[in-house]
């Protein structure tokens, strides 16, 4: 049985961090805005220097920046939440508290939704103001696309946290590196067909690829690519199940090998 009071407490701890250290907002907003400005002005430059048909379509680059941030923020929410406890030497206090794994993950997912909602809202407003890119032009498909990216981000977050627990603080860099390891395969800024055949196999196995392909299809044709959505949901179900199992398994291994207590003595 899930205790929502526990999830509330863990989310509250995260919110208190922001009330105490507002500079953390820089991490949430600064990098996404910088990315948006770089890709946004590249888009306007390309719009002026390409044929009329492509210049309208190329705004997908701005959509890609916003969507990529959904995936990145949700992955970060899971991985960084654990590292916050490592950095403050609070790991043991958390793991001897009556918290079920599902409640711990529930809190990190909630934090992911909050982080994503904040950055996507701000990026969408800026992109509309500066580049006349309206994310709502994706219509109702926006919601399943964003939801799929959240799911995939959570899966990556669970995988990277599991690897950090298994390999120790030396593997901390995975918290940031994991999304970028899959970025070339996720077809964020180019279509799947541009990749060599061997890469396409890998790309097609990532839910994010189908979201970005679907987004480009809507912006180009105005029609919802149902196949992409079905693939994204199907793959995400598999990734969530696999990542959840890995996370639970590594926590069990950590309790056998004493890995959690090693974090406390770092």
């Amino acid at each position: 049985m899930i205790n929502f009071g526990v999830i509330h407490a863990l989310v509250l701890r995260y919110l208190y961090l922001f009330t105490r250290t507002p500079i953390r907002l820089i991490e949430l907003l600064f990098w996404p805005i910088v990315q948006l400005l770089v890709w946004g002005y590249l888009t306007t430059y390309l719009q002026r220097n390409t044929d009329a048909e492509f210049s309208g379509f190329i705004t997908f680059l701005i959509g890609a920046v916003i969507f990529w941030d959904v995936l990145f923020r949700s992955q970060q929410a899971v991985a960084i939440y654990f590292l916050e406890d490592v950095w403050t030497r609070n790991v043991l206090n958390v793991f001897v508290a009556p918290i079920r794994t599902v409640e711990y993950l529930g809190a990190t997912f909630t934090v992911g939704i909050m982080r994503t909602a904040l950055t996507v809202t701000i990026l969408s407003l800026i992109s509309y103001g500066l580049y006349h890119f309206n994310i709502l032009s994706l219509h109702w498909a926006l919601f399943p696309f964003v939801f799929n990216l959240l799911l995939f981000g959570w899966s990556l977050g669970m995988i990277s946290t599991a690897l950090i627990v298994r390999w120790g603080p030396a593997a901390e860099t995975l918290a940031w590196a994991t999304p970028f390891l899959i970025q070339p395969f996720a077809c964020v800024f180019y279509p799947l067909s541009e990749l060599p055949a061997w890469m396409q196999w890998i790309s097609a196995s990532l839910p994010a690829t189908h979201v970005f392909e679907g987004m480009r299809a809507i912006l180009k044709t105005g029609e919802l690519p149902v196949t992409n959505l079905v693939w994204a949901f199907g793959l995400n179900a598999a990734y969530m199940a696999g990542a959840g199992w890995l996370f639970g398994h590594v926590l069990k291994v950590a309790r056998i090998k004493g890995l959690l207590t090693k974090f406390a003595s770092q």
């Binding site: 509250l12 030497r89 206090n93 056998i256 004493g258 406390a264």
Partner: protein, 288 residues
């Protein structure tokens, strides 16, 4: 006699070829403060981590409140708590924010009232709005104690709570622990390298050495067993010799042993006491 709060039955923890805890059996009675002593590497932290559910024993079982710890971990943890000198609460949160979060984690009703009571008890109500990272070691320890008492635990595990405190603060903390234990009848598992702590606070002591129980009993029993005048001398003797004194081994008449220890202490030859004390192996190289 009431049922024990905690029963560890032949728990063993191996890390590869190394055995950190070897077939340890112990129990804690309701309202008892049990000291877990031992030199560095004796296995006390490993044992405590197993009793907290942070480590799964290689062999053996742990029952807390009559329930199996592995199967009922969350249910048991709701009624226990933990205080250690080696963990921190998030340093960038205010004192009240940390207590609020942990009160909610443990499902504490009326958390404000409970927080105020505990801050008063630990004589730190003025620190409520302070940033946790700005507290002194003594203040931080007392905040940890507040956190560990938030849920009125039936069982409290304390890992060297007075480490890094000055004698005055350590005394205050010891008194606070005794006060809480008397008022609420909670059971406490207590580890410390400060033997004064142990003598003052603990009702009973389990002395671990190389993962096994070397001896157990009240602090007076232990001193009598080793014919030492203080637990500190016992500790030093075990640390330096690594002697395995079987439990229940015959000791010299307590009065004679005490007189011998006094005589040695008066000559200032403290180390000599270890060579003369009963239970010592003859010709042990480390005794010279």
């Amino acid at each position: 006699m009431a049922a024990p709060i905690l029963v560890a039955d032949k728990i063993t923890k191996r890390f590869g070829d190394f055995t950190a805890v070897d077939s340890l059996s112990m129990s804690i009675q309701p309202g008892e403060i049990l000291g877990l002593l031992g030199v560095n590497g004796a296995g006390k932290t490993t044992a405590m981590n197993m009793l907290l559910g942070l480590l799964i024993p290689t062999e053996g079982s742990i029952q807390v409140f009559g329930k199996d710890l592995t199967k009922h971990r969350v249910e048991i943890l709701k009624q226990t708590n933990f205080c250690s000198a080696y963990t921190n609460l998030p340093s960038n949160l205010r004192v009240w924010q940390n207590l609020h979060v942990f009160a909610k984690l443990y499902g504490v009703k009326n958390w404000r009232q409970r927080m105020d009571e505990l801050l008063e008890l630990m004589e730190i109500p003025h620190l409520k709005d302070r940033v946790t990272g700005h507290l002194s070691a003594g203040e931080s320890t007392r905040l940890h104690l507040c956190k560990s008492l938030l849920n009125n635990p039936r069982l409290l595990m304390m890992d060297e709570p007075t480490a890094s405190l000055d004698p005055d603060m350590a005394d205050k903390v010891r008194k606070a622990i005794r006060h809480v234990q008397r008022e609420h009848g909670i059971s406490v598992l207590y580890t410390s390298h400060n033997m004064r702590d142990v003598e003052e606070v603990c009702d009973r002591v389990v002395f671990l050495h190389k993962g096994k129980i070397l001896t157990e009993g009240t602090p007076d029993d232990i001193k009598r067993h080793f014919a030492e005048e203080s637990l500190e001398n016992v500790f030093i003797r075990v640390a330096r010799s690594g002697d395995m004194v079987p439990m229940g081994a015959a000791v010299e008449d307590a009065e004679e042993a005490e007189a011998k220890a006094h005589a040695v202490a008066e000559t200032g030859a403290e180390a000599e006491a270890t060579t003369r004390a009963p239970g010592r192996k003859e010709g042990d190289a480390s005794s010279s």
